[in-house]
Amino acid sequence: MKKKKNEEIKEKNIILSIKNASYRYSDAEENDYALKNVSFDFESGKIYAIKGRSGSGKTTLLSLISGLERCSEGEIIFDGKSLNMMNLDKYRNSEIGIVFQSYNLLPFMTASENIILSMDINGLKIKNKKEKAIELMEKVGLKDIYADRKVLRLSGGEQQRVAIARSLSYNPKMIIADEPTGNLDKQTETEILEIFKKLAHEENKCVIIVTHSGNVCDSVDVIYDLKKSVNL
């Protein structure tokens, strides 16, 4: 039965499947779930938006699909394998790239050092990592002159581009972004969304954006509304 389901997932090009996932904080009461019975499928080559009001469990869902937490109940299947069975550190540094609203770059490092660090953690073995970092920066619209600049000297949009470049440094199959344009102006938001679209449509990556921005929702292929899906 399980084998049949996995074959179905492969046929549909599903990279990530959330099956009745629930999450309850360790100090919460028995029926106090932050997220309950959520089921979504995500395919490669598509860009998704997960929307919902504050407190709907967006961030919790993000932490589950990015492997920062494990489901209390249910399971998440990535590329045919359950996250419950996977090394989540390896999952985060090889299979997925994470982009945050507040960029989460290391401020004492330069743009290229931040990207190279991610390659190092992945264990990527290439000769010239800096060259590769500059290549990735150019891919997200940053000139090579920014490579040796401390990230604190970059604008918000530039920092977010560096964060996206970092998330791409080991060529993951999926990009998960948490309000990636929340701190950016309209023009930059549009540019960033263009990058995500390219990654999904041209490089066959699955891009999941957690957002409550209407502009973002207008740009994606599929919208999952968390409020509707949560069976409380």
Binding site: T59, S66, D89, Y91, N93, N104, L106, I121, N122
Partner: protein, 470 residues
């Protein structure tokens, strides 16, 4: 490799914090080096003193055993005790030789004492109370024969000091009828070096001795007597007296042997062996262990103080480092969150944090060892210098007691004189042992203070950290 690179970047980035940690470790390392060097020096001195005191075993009465059934209120009790005492079978020189033939004994020496009367000399006996100061057997003179220099404890401990001596005295002193006499006796009988004196046994046999030295007794003035206790003591060699007693069984001899053993632990076995060889069970063996321990007590105090100081330094240093590390971790929560989010494992992150501390610690430990070595050289050398001075003074004093510079310390080893050699260089004080000890202390401190980072990394949820930051 990237962990090391990251650790180095972090060290350079947090200069002020790492300099503070470095200074604390440097102070700890400095204090530890000085303390360890003092401990080593003290240990060296203790060993030196313990070696200086040869492990001596002597035979003495078992008074407790003798007094066990003694009731002084009853005449029978007193008579029984006297009878018991008279029946104790003393040991002879051949017994002593037999006792000494043991696997536990490395060497031995003895004094051999007999009493003889004056023939051409008069005993010194005029005193205020009219008591006779002649000793055993109520004879005029007490002759004490030493088997060798080591046996001459009165000269070694300074009770007797040689005031006049012939040039070749020590070449002939242990072979033939030669005596050292008390200065008071010499004056009383107008005797000089190289004079010959005649002594006689109770049965009238006479024995001639040549005076090769005159000594005096160093004791506090006794207002009650004109002469010192040793005025009628004649010091000679054991062989001379043994040959007298061999030909005259009427003369009773007292033998006081001293056996040098390889370890105090074997004394009980040795005592049993002596009993098997015929030693009366009213005798027991006694050691000089307490005397040897007393000699090192002051240095042992320094050693204990050093240990306490070292322990306190480590406890306080460890706590300070732990607190600094906890603050450090709080400051770097964001960094931990980012690194964990992008997939670094807890183990690798912990290694990075520990590595940062190890790099700072190793640099600080090396500097601390150098500063500590320079300081400890002075402290240790002054400690050694005073011991060397004491030791040299003691050697000089003993040399004087024996009549001059002819005696050397080599002949006197084993009489409580430590053989202390001066340290000439830093290496001698802060040696490889100290460096290794310091390194292990440093690593222990680093690991203890790293507990904070280990616990924090284990406990922190990356998402929570990043949410807080946002």
């Amino acid at each position: 490799m990237f962990i090391l690179k990251n650790a180095w970047i972090s060290i350079k980035r947090n200069k002020a914090r790492n300099i503070l940690i470095g200074i604390i470790i440097l102070i700890i390392a400095c204090a530890c080096t000085i303390t360890l060097a003092i401990k080593n020096t003290a240990g060296y001195l203790i060993d030196s003193y313990k070696n200086a005191y040869e492990k001596e075993v002597t035979i003495s009465f078992n008074r407790a055993n003798m007094m066990k059934n003694f009731d002084p209120s009853k005449i029978e009790g007193r008579e029984n005790a006297k009878e018991k005492f008279d029946n104790i079978e003393s040991y002879t020189i051949s017994d002593v030789t037999s006792f000494a033939d043991s696997e536990y004994i490395t060497s031995y020496y003895y004094t051999y004492s007999i009493g003889l009367n004056g023939n051409n000399i008069i005993k010194a006996e005029i005193n205020n109370d009219g008591f006779n100061h002649g000793k055993e057997n109520n004879t005029d003179f007490n002759l004490t024969g030493y088997s060798n220099l080591d046996a001459m404890s009165e000269f070694i401990n300074g009770t007797y000091t040689m005031s006049e001596i012939t040039d070749n005295a020590w070449d002939i002193a242990f072979d033939g009828n030669y005596v050292f006499i008390n200065e008071e006796l010499a004056n009383y009988n107008d005797l000089n070096l190289n004079d010959k004196i005649k002594l006689a046994s109770e049965d009238g046999k006479t024995y001639e001795f040549e005076i090769i030295g005159i000594f005096k007794e160093n004791e506090e003035d006794n207002q009650m007597t004109m002469f010192s206790n040793s005025a009628n003591t004649l010091v000679t060699n054991a062989n001379a007296l043994i040959s007298i007693t061999k030909n005259n069984e009427e003369i009773k001899a007292i033998i006081n042997p001293t056996f040098i053993v390889d370890s105090y632990d074997n004394v009980e076995k040795l005592q049993n062996e002596f009993y098997e060889k015929g030693l009366d069970e009213n005798f027991v063996l006694q050691t000089n262990e307490e005397e040897a321990n007393n000699a090192v007590s002051s240095i042992q105090n320094i050693n204990s103080f050093s240990t306490t100081f070292l322990t306190l330094t480590l406890i306080i240093g460890g706590i300070v480092l732990l607190v600094i590390n906890m603050i450090n971790i709080r400051e770097r929560k964001y960094e931990i969150g980012v690194l964990r989010t992008i997939g670094i494992s807890k183990l690798k992150l912990t290694i990075q944090f520990v590595l940062e501390l190890v790099i700072v610690a190793v640099i600080a430990l090396m500097l601390g060892a150098v500063f500590g070595a320079v300081s400890s050289k002075n402290v240790s050398n002054s400690l050694l210098a005073s011991e060397i001075k004491n030791s040299n003074e003691k050697v000089e004093e003993i040399g004087k007691n024996f009549g001059g510079p002819n005696m050397n310390r080599g002949q006197m080893k084993g009489k409580g004189m430590p053989v202390v050699e001066a340290y000439d260089s830093i290496d001698a004080v802060v040696d490889i042992k100290v460096i290794l000890e310091l390194l292990s202390i440093g690593i222990t401190l680093v690991l203890i203070s790293s507990i904070a980072s280990m616990v924090s990394i284990e406990r922190f949820s990356p998402l929570t950290i990043l949410k807080e930051r946002s």
